[in-house]
Symmetry: C2
Subunit: 386 residues, 2 copies
C-alpha cells in the first residue's frame, strides 16, 4: 500500500510526535543522479524554494548541483554552505534592487527577466551579467501551472535581449513548463519558440550563451507521470532537433523532482465526524492542514498518496481537513480519500511526496499552531531537525 | 483618499522598512468599546486567531474582554497574560485531546462541539464543562463563509445536547454567520433555529446556559458594511424577539471587527511590468503577497482599501502580485486596482484593514522571504515589534 523507503517506514513506525515531515537524504541523492544521467550535459540548478534544508543543499552541492534562488534569503542559505557566485542563478523574475546589487557583489551573474523595467534594474545593479529572458508557456499538462504571472512572449523577449546585448549583457533564455508537468513533450513546444528566437537573434549577430530548460520534472504522486528517463529522452531529443545547432550551455532548475518523494508527512487524526445520520461522507480532521504545510492541496491541485496505520478491508470515503477554524483549511473535499471504516482519533495518516513545498509554506502561527516540523534522515545513526 | 488614523499616517510617512503591518492600539480600544455598547449584556470573547499580539490581548483584557481560542498555543498566549480559565472559551470544534485535558486542568470550561465523537472527547477530558453545540449557517452575505467544515444541523445539535446533559454537562449553542458578514439580519435567521432548539430542549426539561452569537462583525473594507450600532440594534432586537424568554447568558466572538481597521500594511513596489506593447493592464509586483500576510486575498475574497504615496490624476488598472515564484501569489487580478499611471519601483502601497488575519497567516520562509513583521503603536513615545 505504501511506497515509502525503508528508512521512512522505520521513522513512521517509531511514532514520532506529529505533525512532522521526514526527509530521506538517500532518495534526494538517487534522484539527483537519475536526473543528471537523464539530462547529460545539462547544468542542474536546484530550486532552493522546494526545500531549503541545509542538509539537502549540502548534499546536492557535494554531488555537483548548483542553485536556483528566489530571494536574498535563499542566496544567504547557499552562501552559508560556501557556494560561490557561479554556482547560483537568480531565477525569480521579480527581484528587489538591493537583492540584485548584493548578489552581484557576491559574484552571482545569472538573472532572469521578463520585462523592460527588470532589465533596467539588472543593468544598473548587476552590469555585465547574463540576462535570461523568460518566455511564457501555457502550462497545459501541469498540476501547478505558472503562466500569467511570469514570462513574456518570444517576440517581446527578443526585443528585450537585443536591448540587453546593447547594454553589454550576455544572453540567455528560460521557460518553465509548469510544476509537476505530466507531458514529456512540453519542452519540445517551448524549444520550438527558443529556436525561432535564436534565428531572430542570429540575424542581428547575437547568440544565446545559455538555454535554461526550467523545472517541471514530476514527483511520484500516482498521477501517471512517466519515468524520468522518458523525460530525459524526450527533452534531449527536442534539444538536438530544435536547437542542436546552437553553441549554448544547457541548464535546468529541478525542485520537486529531487525532494518531493524523499519526504513523508506524518499526521494524526484528531476527529472523525459523522455529523448527520444520513451523511454518506465523513469529515476527518487532522493535526495538519493547508496552513501547516499542505498549501499545495488548495484547490486540490496536488493529491498526495496517503496511507493509514490501520488496515481494513472496509473503507469509507473521507473528506480530509486541517485543525484550524478556517474554511479554506480543507485538504481534500472534491476528491474524498478512501480510509478504513473503523478510522478513529489517534490513528495516523502518512502523506507521501511531501518533501517539496511544505515546510517553508507553513504559516508562522495561524490559529496558534506551530509551523510544520522537519526531520532530515541520513545515515542510520543520525537525524537532525531543521 | 486614505482613511488611516493620524498615528498610522505618521507611521507610514516615516518610511519604515517594508513589508510591515502597524497596529494602532487606540483603534482596537475604540472598536471594543463601540461593540460592547452595541451589544449590551453580551460577554465578548476576542477571537485570538485574528491577531494574537500580546499588546492587543493585554489591552482587551484590561477593558474586560475575554478570549476565544483555537488551540493550546492560543491558550498559552492568554495564560501568559494571566488570564484565568473562566476568561477563556475553546471555540474550535476540532481539538486535540491533550489540548482539551490541559485546558480543563487550567479551569477552562467552555468547549464547542459539532459531532458525537467530539462530545465524547470533551466528556472524557473535561467532565462537567459547558458544551456548546455549533450549528451550521449557510454563510450567505459573508466575504469568508464558514459553512461545510463546521457545524451540524439544529436537530442533530439537539440530539448532541440531550446526550451532553445526560453526561452531566451544561449546555450552550453557538453559530457563526460567516466572517465579514454584511447582512445585519443574518443573526436573526440563526436565532430562529436557536429558539426552536430551546423549545425542543425545554420539552425534555433542559435549558441553554449560554447562547453564543459568534463573530462576523465587519471591518471597514469599503464594501458597504453597515455601522456597528446597526448590527447591535438588529442583533439585540432579534435576541429579544426570538429568545427573549430564555434565561441564558449571551456571548459573542468578535475578531476581525476589533483589529482589522487598526492595521495598515506598508509595502514597496518592486517592479511595474508592461510586458507587451498592447497590454491594457499592468502587472505590479510588491514585496508582500499572499504568502507574507495577504492570504485572505486568495480568490480575491477580501479586497483591502489601497492607497499609494504617489498622487496622480491619471491612473491605470493594475494587477497586484507578490514577490514569490508561485502563480498562486497574485493578490488582485480579477479586480485590478487603479494606481497612478507613473507608478514606479520604490513607490509604496498601503493596505488598510490589515490588522486581522495577516501576521500569523504568513509563511515561515516561502521562497526565502521572512514572515510579515508587525509593529504595535500605542502612546506616541513607544512602539514595539512582535
Amino acid at each position: 500500500m505504501s511506497s515509502l523507503s525503508p528508512r521512512l517506514e522505520k521513522f513512521v513506525a517509531g511514532r514520532p510526535d506529529t505533525p512532522v515531515v521526514a526527509i530521506d537524504l538517500d532518495i534526494v541523492e538517487e534522484r539527483y543522479l537519475a536526473l543528471a544521467a537523464a539530462l547529460p550535459g545539462v547544468s542542474l540548478f536546484y530550486a532552493v524554494k522546494a526545500n531549503p534544508a541545509p542538509e539537502i543543499l549540502s548534499l546536492l552541492r557535494s554531488l555537483g548541483c548548483r542553485f536556483d534562488v528566489a530571494s536574498s534569503g535563499e542566496v544567504a542559505l547557499c552562501r552559508d554552505l560556501g557556494a560561490e557566485g557561479h554556482e547560483i542563478s537568480f531565477g525569480n523574475t521579480i527581484k528587489h534592487r538591493d537583492a540584485v546589487a548584493a548578489a552581484h557583489e557576491l559574484g552571482i551573474a545569472r538573472f532572469s527577466v521578463d520585462c523592460s523595467a527588470e532589465l533596467d534594474k539588472i543593468h544598473e545593479a548587476a552590469p555585465g551579467s547574463l540576462v535570461s529572458a523568460r518566455i511564457s508557456c501555457d502550462g497545459a499538462g501541469a498540476s501547478w501551472p505558472l503562466s500569467g504571472k511570469f514570462g513574456c512572449s518570444p517576440s517581446d523577449a527578443v526585443e528585450l535581449l537585443i536591448r540587453a546585448a546593447d547594454l553589454g549583457h550576455r544572453l540567455g533564455v528560460s521557460f518553465h513548463v509548469g510544476s509537476q508537468q505530466l507531458r514529456t513533450g512540453a519542452w519540445d513546444v517551448a524549444l520550438i519558440e527558443v529556436a525561432a528566437m535564436a534565428d531572430d537573434l542570429a540575424r542581428r549577430g547575437l547568440v544565446f550563451d545559455e538555454v535554461n530548460l526550467g523545472g517541471g520534472f514530476p514527483a511520484s504522486l500516482g498521477d501517471g507521470a512517466p519515468a524520468i528517463d522518458e523525460y530525459g529522452a524526450a527533452i534531449m531529443s527536442a534539444v538536438e532537433h530544435r536547437i542542436g545547432g546552437l553553441d549554448a550551455r544547457l541548464a535546468a532548475e529541478p525542485g520537486r523532482y529531487l525532494v518531493a518523494d524523499a519526504g513523508a508527512l506524518v499526521s494524526e487524526v484528531l476527529l472523525v465526524s459523522q455529523r448527520s445520520v444520513g451523511d454518506s461522507t465523513r469529515w476527518v480532521y487532522l493535526d495538519v492542514g493547508v496552513f501547516t504545510g499542505l498549501v499545495e492541496a488548495i484547490g486540490e491541485a496536488v493529491r498526495y498518496p496517503i496511507t493509514c496505520d490501520r488496515s481494513s478491508e472496509d473503507t469509507l470515503p473521507s473528506i480530509l481537513a486541517g485543525p484550524t477554524c478556517d474554511s479554506l483549511d480543507v485538504i481534500y473535499e472534491q476528491h474524498p480519500v478512501a480510509l478504513p471504516a473503523e478510522l478513529a482519533e489517534g490513528d495516523r495518516l502518512v502523506f507521501a511526496g511531501t518533501g517539496a513545498y511544505t515546510t517553508t509554506y507553513s504559516a508562522v502561527a495561524f490559529n496558534g499552531f506551530a509551523p510544520l516540523r522537519q526531520v532530515v534522515l541520513s545515515d542510520p545513526a543520525s537525524s537532525s531537525g531543521s
